[in-house]
Amino acid sequence: MTYSSTLAMGRGASAANMRGQNSVTFKVTDRRLGPVSNTIILIVLACLLGLLYLTQVTKTNSYGYKINSLQQQQSKLQQQHEDLSVASARLQSIDQVASSATAQGMTPVAPSGSVQ
């Protein structure tokens, strides 16, 4: 006899309502989680959700550091621009121009006469 035919026989035997005391019965039972397991799983799921939220918030907050770093760079560049503007203005000042080599090389010209 094969295993499957044995099963078939068993099924038939159960239909005869336990005539043979040595027959094997197979009963399909529902697998269920107990209340403790349910509770623990729910708690774990809640923690996972919380962790997910924390991850997102931390990621967003990390942008604050990036923003701060970019702002510092921007500040530095603005300051360099300001310094250069000031230096440029100083180079164009009247005193600077008057004391330049080009100006020193010029010959003063007195007006030859008034315009008639």
């Binding site: 209340p35 403790v36 604050g64 701060n68 300051q79 000031v86 100083r90 005193d95 007006p111 008034s114």
Partner: protein, 594 residues
């Protein structure tokens, strides 16, 4: 029969239920506690958290830049620069001598002075060791990581043109407010509006992006200002007044150059002056004042131009009217005579009143306004011209701090020698005016009769780039008629020509240009009463142009001590001539049509 004790077996299901109940109780306790903390006590803990996490920063606004005219465009003359203040916490500095020795090569100064500051007692936690350090100096200091020593970034005003127009510009004090000059007058527009950042931060103060409580208000930069002043003209006038102060050993010299057709101030200079970048080193605060607008004086005989204009406008005289000069006029028990020129009695004219600067002539003009005598009608007429038409006795509203309005006595008879007062007024004493007021008054006489408000601002540019041009503002129209204006111009040009003939060759501008003016030698009022016997001011008021006047020039030479002749012709007139020549040679004064 012996019986075995009955062993009760705990049902596994019951055991599970027991554990389950225990678990529920424990988590129930947690849930209740969490509910209490996060719902019941929500406000309390939120407030406590925000107190430590939420930081509020003020974001300072960039102060506006001040520019001036230069060869058809503008150049910045006041800018901003970020520099560093070096500070120390004396309590934290453990080795002040060594610290000072390390700092001195970078910041300069005296090691002992620095050491003394670092040893400051009394629980002082903040001392300033140096200001205005460059970024490179700050970096060097921070790299040394000296305990208790740090640098703080701060905005400073910087002046690329050096000390140019110092008193006209003013400066910005350490608390960020403008003092004196344009900086004070336009402080609100220049300073902008600070921004604000309220943010949850980390332990280092870096704002975190994920907070719903973050508030960011961007700062609004201050408006930039373009002045009417020409940098080249200002520089030239400053050199001239400086040379004059040194030559005549004056207390001070002031000069104003104004565009007669718009009221725009092209140059306004005083000497002595100061360096606005180092204003803290100035001991005498009077040096910060722009004397051309803050110090009214009795202007002296330059006033005769205004008295002549008033008399011509009232048609009580003409340019060719003559009169008999008795040498002095008895008024209110005193004799009004001449000071500047000595002459005998006889026929005089309007022109000779100006040429010889006759006090008797000016008094005579005033008398004509009253039908032949100084009375309420004459006084009211002169008062009306001086105050309502020529703008004297009140501030002009120019964009300067501490502008003075001067003083013009009212014509009502107060029983205190009012006629004598007005006689004096007609030739420039007994009232006071600033150099700027006289320039504006002369402009209104020679430009055809329009009194423009003197102004320093050409345009402003707001933080968002909006340009606002400031047009010339007419305060009073028809102060004199076109005919009167032309007559005064002609008289003053003839006066100038006469002075050339009298030997003042530097007043020769040739026939291609129209130049005219009047000298003034003014007595200096003594605060305790009367006038000083040994002090006078040399003044000059004139114009330069071609077919019509283009620029009005007023010179106040205060209490010169080294000169020849009268102070007006000896110290005011040469300064005017130098400025007029400078304008003709360098600044495109349009000559007469051939």
């Amino acid at each position: 029969m012996n019986q075995q004790p009955v062993q009760r077996e705990i049902n596994p299901i019951q055991r599970a239920r027991l554990w389950y109940a225990l678990l529920l109780i424990v988590f129930g306790i947690f849930a209740v506690r969490v509910f209490y903390l996060q719902v019941i006590r929500y406000d309390y803990y939120k407030k406590a958290a925000l107190n430590t996490q939420l930081k509020q920063y003020e974001i300072p606004a960039e102060r506006g830049i001040i520019s001036a005219q230069y060869s058809g465009s503008t150049v910045p003359i006041v800018m901003n620069q970020k520099l560093y203040t070096l500070y120390a916490d004396p309590v934290t500095v453990k080795k002040p001598v060594q610290t000072a020795a390390k700092l001195q090569p970078i910041i300069g100064g005296n090691v002992d002075t620095i050491t003394k500051s670092l040893k400051s007692g009394g629980g002082l936690r903040y001392v300033i060791l140096a200001r205005k350090l460059s970024p490179a100096q700050s970096t060097k200091i921070l790299k040394m990581k000296l305990p208790g020593v740090g640098t703080q970034e701060q905005d400073y005003r910087t002046y690329p043109q050096g000390t140019l127009a110092a008193q006209l510009l003013g400066f910005v004090s350490n608390d960020g407010s403008g003092e004196y000059g344009v900086e004070q007058a336009l402080n609100k527009q220049l300073q902008g509006t600070s921004g604000q950042l309220k943010a949850v931060t980390d332990v280092n103060g870096v704002p975190l992006a994920a907070s719903a409580n973050n508030i960011l208000t961007e700062p609004v930069p201050g408006s930039d200002v373009d002045l009417t002043v020409d940098v080249g003209m200002q520089s030239g006038v400053e050199k001239i007044v400086k040379a004059a102060q040194e030559q005549y050993k004056s207390k001070s010299v002031s000069a104003v150059v104004m565009d007669v057709h718009t009221g725009a101030i092209k140059a306004m200079a005083n000497y002595p002056s100061y360096d606005p970048a180092n204003y803290q080193q100035v001991d005498d605060a009077a040096l910060f004042q722009n004397q051309a607008v803050t110090e009214p004086i009795e202007p002296g005989s330059i006033t005769k131009v205004l008295t002549t204009a008033a008399a011509l406008q009232k048609n009580v005289i003409t340019p060719t009217t003559t009169f008999y000069d008795p040498g002095s006029w008895p008024i209110d028990g005193s004799n009004v005579a001449d000071v500047e020129e000595d002459h005998s009695t006889g026929q005089q004219s309007v022109l000779s009143t100006l040429d010889k600067s006759l006090n008797t002539g000016a008094t005579w003009m005033l008398m004509q306004m009253g039908g032949g005598q100084i009375n309420f009608q004459a006084r009211s007429t002169l008062y009306d011209f001086f105050t309502n038409r020529f703008g004297l006795g009140q501030a002009t509203g120019v964009e300067q701090g501490y502008e003075a309005g001067g003083y013009v006595p009212k014509p009502q008879n107060t029983g205190s020698g009012i006629n004598l007062t007005y006689a004096n007024m007609s030739f420039g004493q007994a009232y006071s005016a600033t150099a700027l007021q006289m320039a504006a008054a002369l402009s209104s006489v020679v430009n055809g009769g329009t009194y423009y408000q003197p102004r320093l601002i050409e345009q402003t540019i707001s933080g968002n780039g909006q340009v606002t041009k400031i047009p010339p503002k007419v305060v009073a129209a028809n102060v004199v008629s076109t005919q009167t204006s032309n007559e005064v111009i002609s008289l003053l040009e003839q006066n100038n020509t006469n002075h050339v003939k009298e030997g003042f060759s530097y007043l020769n501008f040739g026939s291609g240009y129209g130049v005219g003016g009047k000298t003034g030698t003014a007595e200096v009022a003594n605060p305790v009463g009367g006038y000083y016997a040994d002090r006078v001011n040399g003044t000059y008021m004139g114009f330069v142009g071609g077919n019509s006047p283009q620029y009005a020039i007023v010179v106040y030479n205060m209490q010169p001590t080294k000169y020849n002749g009268f102070a007006g012709s000896g110290t005011g007139q040469p300064v005017f001539a130098n400025i007029a020549h400078m304008l003709i040679n360098n600044f495109g004064v349009t000559p007469r049509n051939p």
